[in-house]
């Protein structure tokens, strides 16, 4: 039985789609049959980030409405075996995510895949609620700034009260916090919240820290999940996050501005 992972945040523009694409790619790279679904009906960004936008025939909404079969809509990734993209419709809106239809599709996907990664839209309305409803695990994407942290807190509360697991009184959705666009230099200057600040406010275990990196923009513009770029610090950080997600112990990289700390240590000693 496949596991459903929702990538969510409450706030928009924090890196949900980048994360969903990277996590799904990372899981497939490690041999798990994985599909990544775009729940952001009406905007449709995932297929662009995954670089398969010119191969979309049928979409999520077609399958929900019974106009197409699941296998007709799933797009197989050309680079990685076992990776599939399930794009959404750009011509419809979130109301097209009908409860029974989504339930049926998720059941079918659970039977066929190891991991189902749901890329949630921003907000706490119907689209986001549909994306998180079936979740077994949640990756909460947060930027180190107060409004993003607050929205993440809100969405964690919703996971605990409105998910299927909550409704059925099953063990709660496992929460993982992914801190994205992190800049240790800006933390040191007091312009950003630190990992510890965020951890203290949210009391959720940290899955990873993704450093602010130009390679993320480059990756999404070329339709290549950033995790496939070994020269990118963000890519390597996502690789760590996937490993941790699968239970490996890895040290938290990119949390500190290494060089600066070195200099500070020198000055400290001189005093």
């Amino acid at each position: 039985m496949g596991k459903v992972i929702v990538v969510t945040s409450g706030k928009g523009g924090v890196g949900k789609t980048t994360t969903a694409a990277a996590m799904a790619t990372g899981l497939a790279l490690r041999g798990h049959k994985t599909v990544v679904i775009d729940f952001d009906v009406g905007l449709r960004n995932l297929d662009l980030v995954m670089g398969c936008e010119r191969r979309v025939v049928f979409d999520f909404i077609n399958v929900i409405n019974g106009d197409a079969k699941l296998n007709q809509a799933l797009i197989r990734d050309k680079r990685i075996d076992k990776l599939y993209v399930f794009p959404t419709s750009q011509t419809r809106d979130k109301d097209a995510l009908k409860r029974e239809g989504v339930d049926r599709v998720m059941d079918e996907l659970r039977a066929e895949f190891d991991y189902i990664v749901c890329d949630s839209p921003a907000g706490i309305e119907h689209g986001a609620l549909s994306a998180l409803y079936h979740a077994d695990q949640a990756v909460i994407v947060t930027n180190p700034e107060i409004s993003s942290v607050r929205d993440s807190d809100r969405i964690i509360g919703i996971l605990a009260s409105k998910s299927r697991r909550a409704e059925r009184n099953e063990p709660p959705v496992a929460e993982h916090l992914l801190l994205t666009r992190y800049s240790p230099e800006r933390v040191a200057r007091g312009e950003m919240l630190s990992v510890d600040d965020v951890k203290e406010i949210l009391s959720v275990r940290i899955l990873g820290i993704i450093p602010e990196s130009e390679s993320v923009l480059r990756a999404s513009n070329t339709g290549t999940p950033v995790i496939l770029d070994p020269s990118s610090p963000a890519g390597r950080a996502y690789e760590d996050a996937v490993a941790r997600f699968l239970g490996e112990q890895r040290e938290l990289r990119f949390a500190k501005a290494e060089r600066k700390r070195f200099f500070r240590a020198l000055f400290g000693r001189a005093q």
């Binding site: 607050r150 807190d153 809100r154 964690i156 509360g157 919703i158 605990a160 203290e200 406010i201 949210l202």
Partner: protein, 234 residues
């Protein structure tokens, strides 16, 4: 010869609904009634009905009320439908408790506390997230996890937070001025006891991010650092 000096007697006593004791129209409203039949009211004993009164938890409130009534040549002798803190203040100014007629007030307030049994205590063991409201009816709310900004804790009794309190905490939601708020790390957006409140900006900074308890003293919220008992403090 033994004389029984204590015996029962049944009297009719007027009952005055106090409502809001600070309502400036209150003396006039009572005064009008008195003027209609001055002889009937002259030096008559009256019972104060506190059914619809949320304040009147301090001695000062009752002293003020007594002064108003004495000026109208009425003699307050007792109170009816008083909550536990109201009754305490009333007794301090020699107002006796009278039974309520016809049981207009359902469950007597402060009953769960008087029993000393936390029957209605609500325990929360997971973080209380932004946008969540938790209400402990008729009792205390105990949270052994952090309470996020944007979350709201409400209890008819006390609110206890063994963790950071960053949201709102409302104790004594149905008027119990003896209720308190306890927080291991006080960072609350809002604190309220029996309708009296303090916003975050009004909390003295020396109390922030520290253990503290909040109590209602003379109708003002007072923040007491820490949980330790100190002789003489509120």
């Amino acid at each position: 010869m033994a004389i029984n000096r204590v015996e029962g007697g049944i009297f009719t006593v007027m009952v005055i609904g106090v409502g809001d004791p600070h309502d400036p129209a209150l003396p006039q409203a009572i005064g009008e009634q008195v003027r209609r039949s001055p002889d009937f009211f002259a030096d008559a004993p009256v019972v104060l009905d506190l059914k619809d009164t949320l304040s009147c938890t301090s001695v000062a409130d009752f002293v003020a009320l007594k002064t108003v009534l004495r000026r109208l040549r009425l003699i307050p002798v007792g109170v009816q439908n008083a909550s536990a803190p109201q009754l305490r203040a009333a007794l301090a100014v020699d107002l006796a408790p009278f039974p309520s007629l016809g049981g207009r007030r359902a469950a007597p307030r402060g009953d769960t506390k008087a029993n000393g049994v936390g029957v209605a205590t609500r325990l929360v063991t997971r973080p209380v997230r932004s946008g969540t409201q938790i209400y402990a009816k008729d009792g205390d709310l105990v949270v052994v996890a952090p309470v996020s900004a944007g979350a709201e804790l409400v209890a008819d009794g006390n609110v206890h937070v063994y963790g950071a309190l960053r949201g709102r905490a409302i104790a004594g939601a149905r008027g119990d001025g003896d209720a308190r708020i306890f927080a291991q790390r006080l960072e609350a957006e809002l604190l309220a006891i029996a309708g009296h409140y303090l916003v975050n900006e009004a909390i003295p900074t020396e109390h922030l991010k520290r253990p503290a308890q909040v109590a209602l003293v003379d109708d003002r919220l007072q923040i007491l650092p820490g949980f330790e008992f100190e002789p003489g403090r509120a």
